[in-house]
């Protein structure tokens, strides 16, 4: 699934930020709320307990509160909170980071005066647009990018901002629009659902914005704000900073917001924006409803029929979908409203060597299965699913680890001490005590060498 991947990546990004930057982020209640939602459930609970409690929490109280068997979850939660600098620990007590506490409190009680949830326009828009129009707009913009990536000839080329983002993110290579080619990462990107695709691009946008001297905090504030806006409502540009106004231009190109013209004083978020932070979306429904909402043509999300004899029939005339299918299916014939093809060892191997995983293929087929297929349980023929997995296993016949092989220990004791140390460091890749040999990873080797020197010199 692509959703957890997004989770980890936005989380990783946030955890990588230095404390002062994070604290600046927490000034916005909308951001506090969005970040809160990214946390594991246990961490959320700890925050809630401390939120309205003026006294700091005793660390030992937590131990008594969590079941004995679930201590790892408790540590995981605390680790996460520390990583995001959400808690302060001193002398056995834990308290919430002050800014975050105030921000989240404001988000929950509605005491926010930063307008972090966006200011709706209070005047009537003369050129008012409806939700259907916004969906179409988002759809067109987004598909334009995807079509460009698969090389469909639509006669239109996305704006330079989009092109440089695609290049910067490594999804495409090439200097001019005419010679840009999709990369392996680009293929994987195409197989994700829309929400994950947007986040992939937005994270790249974040990385790029730092190079462009844009303030990451403002960029994030804006992104998290977009996620909390209302579809169909127009919002005023008044509260936006100059950076955020520049961003608006870029986001318009992705179809995330709609502005009638760039000088307009108002903007509309599209469905791409309002579903940004609704990551879980009740299992498949977020992406499924997204798909159905986004493409008027394919009201019924599924269009692919997969048979037990590995034949694939796809009822689509979208060049984009056909291009995606072509990544792992031998397409044999094409009709007005459908294409037919066969999944074969070669076609899957081609996909696998492009960096697409078996699971991605299977997820894609599951998500896009024709309603007719949904009647059968399991959804996809198990023979085909198993075979695709087997093909992947066949490709992955070995695993390699770079590092150092240790041997010729003088005594069992020496071996045990050093091997134990390697275990503690977590760098042990392979060991065989009766042969007195072990293999450590490249990263851990230096520490082992130092340890051996200390031991030998200390002992001698």
């Amino acid at each position: 699934m692509s959703i957890p991947r997004f989770r980890t990546s936005i989380n990783d990004y946030l955890e990588g930020l230095p404390e002062p930057v994070l604290i600046r982020l927490y000034y916005s209640p909308a951001t506090c709320l969005a970040i809160f939602r990214l946390l594991p459930a246990m961490a959320q609970l700890f925050i809630m307990t401390m939120l309205f409690n003026d006294k700091p929490l005793e660390a030992t109280d937590l131990n008594g509160w969590v079941q004995d068997g679930s201590t790892p979850k408790q540590y995981e939660a605390l680790e996460k909170l520390r990583g995001m600098h959400l808690i302060k620990e001193s002398q056995g007590t834990i308290s919430l980071q002050k800014t975050f506490r105030a921000g989240l409190r404001n988000a929950l009680t509605g005491g926010d005066h930063n307008n972090s949830f966006g200011i709706p326009c209070n005047t009537e828009d003369k050129h008012k647009v409806d939700i259907k129009f916004l969906d179409e707009h988002a759809n067109n913009q987004w598909e334009l990018i995807l079509h460009f990536m698969v090389g469909t000839d639509t006669g239109k080329v996305p704006n330079n901002g989009v092109l440089s983002l695609l290049r910067h993110s490594g999804l495409m290579e090439g200097s001019a629009p005419s010679n840009m080619l999709i990369t392996n990462a680009g293929f994987q990107f195409l197989l994700q659902d829309v929400n994950a695709q947007i986040w992939t691009l937005l994270l790249q946008y974040l990385n790029m914005s730092e190079d462009l001297q844009m303030d990451a905090v403002e960029v994030l504030h804006f992104l998290f704000m977009l996620g909390s806006l209302e579809l169909g409502q127009d919002y005023s540009l008044v509260a936006l900073s100059p950076t955020q106004k520049i961003m608006l231009d870029d986001l318009r190109d992705y179809g995330i917001v709609y502005q009638r013209k760039s000088s307009s004083r108002r903007f509309y978020p599209t469905r791409l924006a309002t579903t940004l932070t609704s990551d879980t979306g009740a299992l498949l429904t977020a992406s499924a409803s997204m798909d159905s909402a986004i493409s008027q043509k394919e009201r019924e999300t599924g269009f692919v029929i997969l048979e037990t004899n590995f034949k694939v029939y796809a009822y689509t005339d979208s060049p984009l979908q056909i291009a995606v299918l072509n990544l792992f299916v031998h397409l044999k014939s094409r009709f007005v409203n459908m294409v037919a093809g066969q999944i074969s060892r070669e076609s899957v191997r081609k996909a696998l060597s492009n960096g697409i995983t078996a699971d991605q293929i299977i997820t894609y087929l599951t998500v896009h299965a024709h309603p007719q297929m949904r009647k059968s349980i399991p959804l996809l023929p198990p023979t085909v699913v198993d075979q695709i997995r087997l093909w992947q296993l066949e490709m992955e016949r070995m695993k390699i680890v770079e590092g150092y092989l240790y041997s010729d220990f003088s005594s069992k004791n020496e071996y045990d001490v050093i091997a134990g140390y390697a275990h503690d460091l977590g760098v042990m890749a392979w060991e065989k005590p009766n042969k007195r040999m072990f293999f450590v990873t490249k990263e851990g080797n230096q520490q082992i060498v130092d340890f051996v020197r200390r031991k030998v010199h200390g002992g001698a």
């Binding site: 809630m48 988000a107 509605g110 409502q233 609704s278 299992l283 070995m398």
Partner: protein
Amino acid sequence: MNAVDGSSHVPQVGFASELEQELPSLLVLILDTSPLGWGTQSPPISLHEAVASLLIFINSHLALNHSNEAAVIASHTNCIKYLYPVPGEDYSILAPKSTVTSGTESSEEMIPNGQSNGDNGTPNDASMYRQFRVVNESVMKQLELLLSGTSTSDIEHNGKISDTTLISGALSTSLAYINRLVGGVNDNGPKLRARILVVSVCSDLASQYVPIMNCIFAAQKMKVPIDICKIGNNTVFLQQAADTTGGVYMHLEHPRGMIQYLMTAFLPDRALRKHLVLPTQSSIDFRAACFCHKRIVDIGYVCNICLSIYCQPPADGSCAICDTIFDPKELADLLKKPVVVTTTVPKTKTKKKKKKDSDATPNFTPGP
């Protein structure tokens, strides 16, 4: 070229456990709005303060997960009412640009609603996340309507002010609501985990013994825990409700700190509760109410056919529920007052006689 090497996509760890938690949850909050119940609290907490805490609590619940849902049902003296979602209203379209009329007490800053500055027709929408605002505005507005529409005749019962509340009605409504949302159209398993939280101030619920017990068993069957947040005196049946369904029962010693109780004990959803040590009841009041006078009894009489409970043997000699006619002789024996005796000999005699009688059928055995 790297095709033979599988090290590049080694599966990520710690993955499945997260997915299991991802199931969003539905919280149905039943708020006891009985005027007398709130009026007689000591230490006092006003309905207004409690609602402020509850709204923050609902917001927190919604904040946990984007797909979490909430419903609020008021359990009044003579009716129940959906405070959110109001039947027939569509919340997916834009909220109308008018706010609720400010209540008389809305000077309190804790009220999580833009209403205090929203009197000029343009609410400060930016101050609150949309999902929260929709729920909060709806609850405040409907509550206002409910309370302003309540006249003294509604709360009077047989000439005196009734302090009861229709908890049983609210419970069955919420179970029906949960059933509709959770067990509905979707065939690939439940998409929501539901639970009920009852905020109760009333102590006297004996008149609704049977319907409440039926709701409890229905909830148990649907695997819906009923949490009880109790303000004021303990109520017998609600303890049983929490105990039977695996919910949390908590009696608020300091109702003013309600928000902290809510956040700590009632916020975790079912998936998380497995990992926590939650407050448990040391002693549960398992007493029942009799079917004849709705009195709570320690020891009563039980019909040996249908197990109906009576506080005293029925006057007409037959069970009011299943119409079993009891042996008049047995009934007479049961109604016998203890005989005050001076000597020891007759005492053993009466004992013997009682024992013999109780073996006969149909009889009427004293039960707990």
